[in-house]
Amino acid sequence: MQRTRVSHRLNAWVRHHRLSAADSLRRVLERPTASLLTWLVVGIALALPVSLALSMDNLRALGGRVDSQAQLSVFLRPAVDAVAGQALAEELGQRADIATATFRSREEALEEFRARSGFSDVLGGLEDNPLPHLLLVVPRDPAQAAALAAEIGALATVDEVILDLAWLERLRRLTELGARLVLVAALLLAAGVLLVLGNTIRLAVEGRREEIEVTRLVGASDAFVRRPFLYSGLWYGIGGGVVAALLVAAVFAALRGPVAQLAAAYGADWRLAGLGLIDAFGLVLAGGALGLIAAWLAVGRHLRLDPRG
């Protein structure tokens, strides 16, 4: 028996990895239809939760923009004139718990409304400006906004304070729920991918049972037997990841135009964020990892069935 030195064994190990990788890839490519189907199944299963998660990210980004602008709209009583309003704004701006307080006169408000709402024709027909003077108050701590609103609302010059936190809260809760749903869907679909790939590898193991037995009889270790199947799993997984990345890119490319138009219709400068290059790479890696795990589980079950090792 040959004494194998460490370097010899390392070389042998690297060589077998290379051989296994190439041989597995050849086997995957030898049956293009079957492999393509596997890739598509894995790709679609991965693309679904990723697309959902990306949509959630976009929603959250939108929510975040609104959130950072969380402010009180303080409507002054009609009797209050612009000078008094200005003074109140300055007074409020001095307070420690208020970041900024801006006075917006009723004329400015009308102008802005006209520009942004698209109702300029209708508004032009009005004889009188129906809008009151307005203070825009941004609290230092958004959590204190409600208390602040109550306090300011109690002032004699203030008609009404609108703090529309409710819909923000609802949006946040909805995105949280959405994120949870995405997580559940991702877990279920990942389990599905594991089963599909595991079954594919299991069939490959069945088809090469004689080869496995013979290689074990002539002295192959578990790792040696397992290796080509692990690579098969890796190739299926990576291929599936690539398909998933392409699918997601295609879906978002198709959505980008309509979303931009929708945003424009609301006068918002907002773009749909798609899958970045790094995310796409991560997706491919995730596919590969799933493939490896599936192969490991599938082969592990079958190694135990072999003649007593």
């Binding site: 042998a12 009889l217 002295g219």
Partner: protein
């Protein structure tokens, strides 16, 4: 080289395949193992290959007590024991060369060394011109010789053969046996299970006979 010390093997269900078997085979010996089918020949070989473990007793190969070989040590042990199967057990999806090279790839030899050793082994069994052939295109005798080349290509100190001439005509069988004698002559321990008494009695080597799991003619 191969030592059995009071080895018994009882399978689940109570069938006794081997009962209290003891013998010793020296390093340069060629020994025939004979007996009716079901006498325990295959079980005995499987114990040497560590495909089974004895219920009682000890098996030693090359001085190593096989009961002390851990599961992860089994592949290394099998690389020291070349095995020739009755039904060849060749892989039909690859060439003669790749079949013979399999143990070398497993042991981790590099390309050049594999080529050299495979060709030497194929030359030894007279199949060098067929290295690129697929096993199915070969005759039964040729396939068996590919199996022998695969068994010896890693130069194991021990060579086992289970009915290596089972499906061959007498002339081919004699040829195969000559090959085994050649390996024995260069120091390989050879143990051949065969019920071809006519053939093996002509060759002058020790014969171990099993009957219903017991060694015949063994000192009591």
């Amino acid at each position: 080289m191969i030592t059995f010390e009071r080895v018994s093997k009882r399978f689940e269900g109570g069938h006794d395949a081997l009962r209290d078997v003891s013998f010793e085979i020296g390093a340069d010996e060629l020994v025939f193992l004979t007996g009716h089918s079901g006498a325990g020949k295959t079980t005995l070989l499987r114990l040497v290959m560590l495909l089974e473990q004895p219920t009682r007793g000890r098996v030693l190969v090359n001085g190593r007590d096989l009961s002390r070989v851990a599961r992860r040590g089994i592949p290394a042990h099998r690389r020291e024991v070349g095995v020739v199967f009755q039904n060849h057990r060749l892989l039909f999806d690859r060439s003669v060369f790749d079949n013979v090279a399999l143990p070398l790839y497993i042991a981790g030899y590099d390309h050049r060394e594999v080529g050299k050793r495979v060709r030497a082994a194929l030359d030894k069994v007279g199949l060098l011109r067929h290295e690129r052939a697929m096993p199915l295109t070969l005759s039964g005798g040729e396939q068996q010789r590919v199996g022998i080349a695969r068994a010896v290509v890693g130069r194991p100190p021990v060579l086992l053969a289970d009915e290596p001439t089972g499906n061959l005509d007498p002339a081919l069988s004699a040829e195969i046996m000559t090959l085994f004698e050649d390996f024995s002559r260069v120091g390989v321990t050879v143990l051949i299970a065969s019920h071809d008494l006519a053939l093996i009695s002509r060759l002058r080597h020790r014969i171990i006979t099993l009957r219903e799991g017991r060694l015949m003619g063994a000192p009591a």
